[in-house]
Amino acid sequence: MESVIKTAFPFIVFSIAILLAFQGVLMIVAYTVLAERKVLGWIQGRIGPNRVGPWGVLQPFADLLKFIFKEDLVPDKSTKFVYFLAPIVALTCALLPIVVYPFGPVITTIDWSFLPYGLGDNIRQLPMTIAQIDVGVLFVLGITSVGVYGIALAGWSSNNKYSLMGGLRSSAQMISYELAMGASVIGVVMLAGTLDLNGIINAQINSPFKWFIIPQFIGFIVFLISAFAETNRVPFDLPEAETELVAGFHTEYSALKFALFFMAEYVNMFTVSVMVTVLFLGGWYVPGLGHLLEPGSVPYALVSHVAFIGKICAFLFLYIWIRGTLPRFRFDQLMNFGWKFLLPLALANVILTIIIVFFLNR
């Protein structure tokens, strides 16, 4: 019995951690949708959804129920297997990066010896990350780049010209801006000297600037703009330009399959917000908090965690704000901007950082 519990213990702990993290992220994503409708309403002089629950707070659940009970239409001439596969790929690739997010600092002050069967003997610390891998940045970039398939395959398999055009536009856009995004990350990685997300936060704490947004301001701007393009948001929402393409790649998708694409888009917004926060704004780190609370204690971790979520929510608000104010690019403008302005700027930033790091390390 004891050995069974000891073997099963890590699996149980990880299952709970994964459940908590996914549930939390999905709740934030659901309320991002509501916040988007509310804020857009205010920007446009409307009230926004206010019928379901007080102030409309139950709207996301009503939407979900509606998605589940809608009729699921599958186009007759579609390529069935790929048509079903595409939304699954899109959402899986959007959700997978959650396992490497650094949700907060390591908690070291809890005494785990109260656990039965000596389970807590070897636990010294409780990291607020599910999987601490050596290559967190590459993992997130890689998984999100695989997410392109969801959109491209959805557009192709629907057997609809609007879908195909939307899918092609979207993949071309994501491939182009991925380069600028990757190049803007290199500067941060060079300053931090690691690809681990927690390592990057610790490097920022130990650096004189505290937040990498100061030495890497060009990288920050390039990353932010490419993040908008990567998530297909206004002003780069060419794939779903209503006036030209109906609804782009998800024209032929209905009910829960459309909901999966919808969720994938908002989870991707969350992912890039996490990346901006971790790479340029110090992640969970609040300058000066270490003087008030003891680092490693539970209150310190909780306050840092709230600060982390707050920074992410600020970026999510920026997304909504920009959607309410900016018009859409034309496709050739988008490509010219990505290849002829953002990419050279990011590369120039890399070269500048190389020179600075070289002279600092001499």
Partner: protein, 194 residues
């Protein structure tokens, strides 16, 4: 134990995807199967304690190269394949080459079995980012540079091919460029070379 189970699941998946890639008539299904092979292989790299190689496998092969392949297949919009009867003799050659590959594989197994067993150091950092970067930019610097120049040549070749300049246009472009570089020198020798 969990690692062994993962190995068998994803090794099986990789082989299944590879077979499906070869057997599918539709090129898009073959491409999707190939992506499945790459993802399964990257999981195997993770179980072998090489996270950097796993991440790069996903980022470059699954995320960049295969996207272009899928793109081209989608754009070309292939019609239904006709039976390739006139290439029947290729089956014999393919079968022969497959047999050679199989023999080679069994030879590798045999050689590994005969090799003296060594204790594996689990603390080894071969697959880590730092060790790969250090090795690439110190010990293997020359091969890395050569590969870089090769890729640059491929990019320039691609750009030249895509621009579709006619021969006189190309000549005048080269002429202007050479004039700019060494003014006043004799301009006849490169014409012969062109």
């Amino acid at each position: 134990m969990a690692t062994t189970a993962l190995f068998f699941v994803f090794a099986g998946l990789a082989i299944a995807c590879a077979i499906s890639m070869v057997y599918h008539k539709n090129p898009l299904y073959s491409a999707i199967s190939l992506i499945g092979v790459f993802v399964s292989l990257s999981v195997l790299y993770v179980t072998l304690a090489a996270p950097f190689i796993a991440a790069v496998q996903i980022l470059i092969y699954a995320g960049a190269i295969m996207v272009l392949v899928v793109f081209v297949i989608m754009l070309l919009n292939m019609e239904e394949d006709k039976p390739l009867n006139r290439l029947r003799y290729l089956y014999a050659i393919g079968g022969g080459l497959g047999l050679i590959l199989l023999v080679q594989t069994f030879f590798v197994f045999y050689a590994v079995m005969r090799a003296p067993k060594q204790a594996v150091n689990t603390e080894e950092t071969i697959g880590k980012t730092m060790s790969i970067g250090t090795a690439m930019y110190t010990e293997y610097l020359l091969p890395v540079e050569i590969v870089g120049i090769l890729l640059l040549m491929a990019i320039i070749g691609g750009v030249i091919l895509v621009r579709k300049l006619s021969q006189p246009q190309m000549e005048s472009m080269v002429e202007r460029e050479l004039e700019r570089r060494h003014e006043g020198e004799d301009k006849d020798d490169y014409r012969i070379a062109l």
